[in-house]
Symmetry: C2
Subunit: 201 residues, 2 copies
DNA sequence: TAATAAAATAAACGATGTTAAATAATTAAC
DNA sequence: GTTAATTATTTAACATCGTTTATTTTATTA
């Protein structure tokens, strides 16, 4: 890495860090090219020497937040060994990270990235985040006899379901308080992972 | 209704209809107080004589779209009697309405309504839409012996799950094409409503 | 018809993202 | 080490946005 590249990466880092702080503390609504530049200590026009536009900058934060989320989940569930209980706990911790930082949820799932195209790397980071968190749990359940196709189905179901719950809770106030959300979250994870043996008809 | 109230309702209707058309055709990004007013044939300042702000106007469209969605689902599934098959078909048609009109999805689930508060009537219209669509199906399944608590759980699961799927498909390009989404939708509805008798461990 | 009330609009404000021109800082050449 | 060229940064400007205030037009009433 040449001298100029080091400096360039440093400058990008200043802007990215400023954006991260704004996103975490106040959410997307308070992230503007001017507020970022002020926090970074530069003029807002300087930003355009290091990022194509403000959307590129904002989505540069995805990787960092995903790593932070992984760290949060690992720390909160370190004592729980791989398996069914670990799976539930890690899915729960994954969801609670977004409930704690709604601005990160906005960035991951709500913010449009029209022109960046949907092949942007951040989309895959977001999509595969829960899979990475629970890989060991599914592996263990596989060793215990769970077919991998069934594992895949369950993971898909619970991923979509929790994302939908977060959407309603954070964006539509359903449920209105955190307590209600946490309760609902636990109940739904349990029921989806171990559905009762009771056919519809 | 007095003469003035009639005129006021008419004026509100002009703006609401203009907003509806913009939303359906081009999505939220092209909805602005100026574009609405131009389509309605008035100055943009006139809008503020009939709506507190543009968010109030935009959310006034929710009821109309929800009725349109109901009509679409009813029409597409009229021949299917209440029961398990009807349930699947109506949930599918509900999701496909949003896949067809991504702008309506944005309005229903993505657009913030910070200041309007989360007790706004549109939130309940949105939340209960699938319940109203499938009420007869659940009723029939109840008559056939399905416990209402189980029905409630399944409906909750499938509502969150489909919303999550729509979020990923419309906002993150997962899956990238409609075919993939429709296929995934059918598969997930079927699997969630009739999970296999196979415990995790 | 003239005075008054109401409705519609034009003008303006502050904030947004972005670009072009102008200044400051750094590097290269001598 | 001073000057010229290049690069980095900033100021100024533009178009667009939501909203408010002042002004003009339209309708109603005396």
């Amino acid at each position: 890495m040449t001298k100029n590249e080091i400096q360039e990466q440093r400058m990008r880092g200043y802007f990215i860090e400023a954006t991260r702080e704004l996103l975490k503390a106040e959410g997307l609504k308070s992230v503007s090219v001017r507020s970022i530049a002020e926090k970074a200590g530069y003029s807002y026009a300087t930003l355009y020497n290091y990022f194509r536009d403000v959307k590129e900058l904002v989505f540069e934060c995805v990787r960092g937040f995903s790593e932070e989320c992984v760290a949060s989940v690992v720390e909160r569930t370190a004592s729980i060994p791989p398996g069914e209980e670990g799976l539930r706990a890690r899915l729960r911790a994954w969801a609670l990270y977004f409930a704690e930082y709604p601005g990160v949820f906005e960035l991951f799932y709500l913010e449009r990235l029209n022109d960046l195209g949907n092949r942007h790397p951040s989309v895959n980071i977001i999509w595969t985040l829960p899979d990475r968190l629970c890989a060991a749990d599914w592996e263990r359940l596989g060793e215990e006899g769970l077919p991998s196709s069934r594992a895949h189905d369950l993971m898909e179901a619970v991923k979509y379901e929790i994302t939908g719950m977060l959407l309603f809770y954070l964006n539509r106030g359903k449920p209105s308080r955190f307590d209600g959300f946490a309760e609902l979250l636990d109940a739904r994870i349990a029921k989806t992972l171990t559905p009762p043996h009771h056919p519809l008809t």
